[in-house]
Amino acid sequence: MLLTSPAGIATSHALRRRPGADVGGAVFKWLLIGATVFATGFLAVLLAVMIVDGWAVLSGNLWYFLTHGFSQRSAAEAGVWQGIIGSLQVALVTGVFAVPIGVATAIYLVEYAQNSRFARIVELNIRNLAGVPSIVYGLLGLVIFVKALEDFSKGATVIAGGMTLAALVLPIIVITSVEALKAVPDSLREAAYGVGATKWEVLSRQVLPAALSTILTGTVLALARALGEAAPLILVGAATGFLSFGDANVLETFTGPYTALPVLIFNFARLPGADWGVNAAAASVVILVLVLAVNGLAIYLRNRFEKQW
């Protein structure tokens, strides 16, 4: 045959699969699969270990565990009720302080300061702040919220803890809100300006509603992160020992001693004896469920608000 150029007649031989033609691709694919299996497997093992270790509590007296407070006398008498309430209270205070300030900062940076040098520098610094270890925020909280602002926070209270965690998650809320606002197409802003809307009308009726679902998701995820933090709370005075709400009403508990789930886990884990270890594992499962519930709420909110149109 005279025609032998590759682009010539496609014989059945030319089209045949050649073994080993894409070895690199196959290896890469299996590496990716391996990484995925390792990552999820690691999580699954962690979860399984916690459930197995905490099984005695989780299967036996879960209700007692969830509804009773801390006791130093014996592991069997200790529960996580105060931790659950404390964590939720701290998260509430965190949200109250961090969400308005964080979202407002993002709106200013994106919609008002726009691309100015100042905005770029602030944004860069906020991104760096998001990487600061949480223990540093704990020190900051101790100096500022517990000591300097003692008149307001009443010392090492839920309010001081919440404000400390607010400082911790503020950069995360700012960054996700900035991204959400930047994702709103300029054509939407132009359309509103084009019919004679003022800046406030464009923001409040078009831009913010369009960015809301993403902002909400980021905010809730940031609060979930706050729920899991132990180190800064220990520094700003979450109790690691005995504590009682006594007759305090709900408002008073915000300015009283408190604890939080991660702090309780830390506390359980360092007490001697295998039965305390069971409590630590069970409490870990409780906090995981709590965090998962919050994340689920974030997903629900996102779907809810996105589906509108």
Binding site: P185, L188, R189, A191, G194, V195, G196, A197, R205, W309
Partner: protein
């Protein structure tokens, strides 16, 4: 539909090869027409970059003025001067003067929001709000304080004027995103006229549309000019020839530093521009030798 002879349906049918040059039916009542915009020595800068140089022209009431020219010649930039849309772009600066019914648009006392309520805009890509069809139209009137009881009438009137009412009257509460591209653009036109502007600016309103939708918009423009003054940027010379009374041809020449500053080459009645242009650059462009 329209009774305007210049846009008889057969001629507006897109895809037909004929290029209608003669727009004499539209008439050139330049002598008795009111001047809406009077631009004098307009320069536009983006920071240090001069995008447009020394534009001087007048726009007459109830006429369609087309701005044509190659990409990057500054015609869209110029269009955005008329409703101070360039204010939104950081670093944009307009020099020279633009008078709107005798008022200097760029003096300090002028509120751009008030300008935009009188000088509406339709954009290149249809950009409805992520809301219902009804709320898209009602958005502007609500801002200007139109009473709730009158909103229904305003919405119906605007949609009717934009030749969309019959297609959407049964689904006003549904998302505007469910409309086709051409319908969305007519919705945007309806939204623009719902605030009862004086002028409607259109920035290549048909560039994202198919020929049939384009034909519809062109019919609509001919209809609307009885009530509004229209300034339209278009890439399509046949379109400019079909729908406009006056045509401004912009061009751009890189200078020795490689900067591309647009300038107005020729501004004349459309029939003249397309049959007997003064400037050789205009002739080269409209005959397809350049651009």
């Amino acid at each position: 539909m329209t009774s305007d002879a210049s846009v008889a349906p057969a001629e507006a049918t897109p895809g037909s090869p004929q290029t209608r040059i003669d727009v004499s039916t539209a008439g050139h009542h330049r002598d008795d027409a009111q001047t809406v915009f009077e631009c004098s020595g307009v320069d536009v800068y983006y920071d240090d970059f001069r995008a447009l140089r020394d534009v001087t022209l007048e726009v007459a009431e109830h006429e369609v003025t087309a701005l044509i020219g190659p990409s990057g010649c500054g015609k869209s930039t110029f269009l955005r001067c008329f409703n101070r849309m360039n204010d939104l772009i950081e670093g944009a600066r307009v020099e020279g003067t633009i008078h709107y019914h005798g008022v200097d648009l760029y003096q300090d006392e002028v509120d751009p929001v008030e300008v935009r309520r009188r000088v509406g805009m339709v954009f290149q890509k249809p950009n409805p709000f992520p809301k219902s069809i009804y709320d898209n139209i009602a958005y502007g009137p609500r801002l200007t304080g139109v009473k709730r009881s009158e909103l229904d009438d305003v919405v119906e009137g605007s949609l009717t004027r934009a030749a969309l009412w019959d297609e959407v009257k049964d689904r006003l509460k549904m998302s505007a995103y469910g409309l086709s591209g051409g319908q969305q653009q007519r919705l945007c036109i309806a939204r623009a006229i719902a605030v009862q502007p004086d002028v409607v600016l259109m920035d290549e309103p048909c560039s994202a549309l198919d020929p049939i939708a384009t034909g519809r918009i062109e019919e609509l423009i001919a209809e609307l000019k009885t009530d509004y003054t229209i300034i339209i940027v278009t890439h399509n010379m046949q379109q400019a020839a079909r729908i406009s009374d006056m045509t401004a041809f912009f061009s751009v020449q890189p200078n020795e530093l490689g900067h591309r500053t647009g300038e107005l080459v020729e501004y004349a009645p459309t029939s003249l521009i397309f049959t007997n242009p003064d400037d050789p650059r205009t002739e080269a462009y409209i005959t397809g030798r350049v651009g």
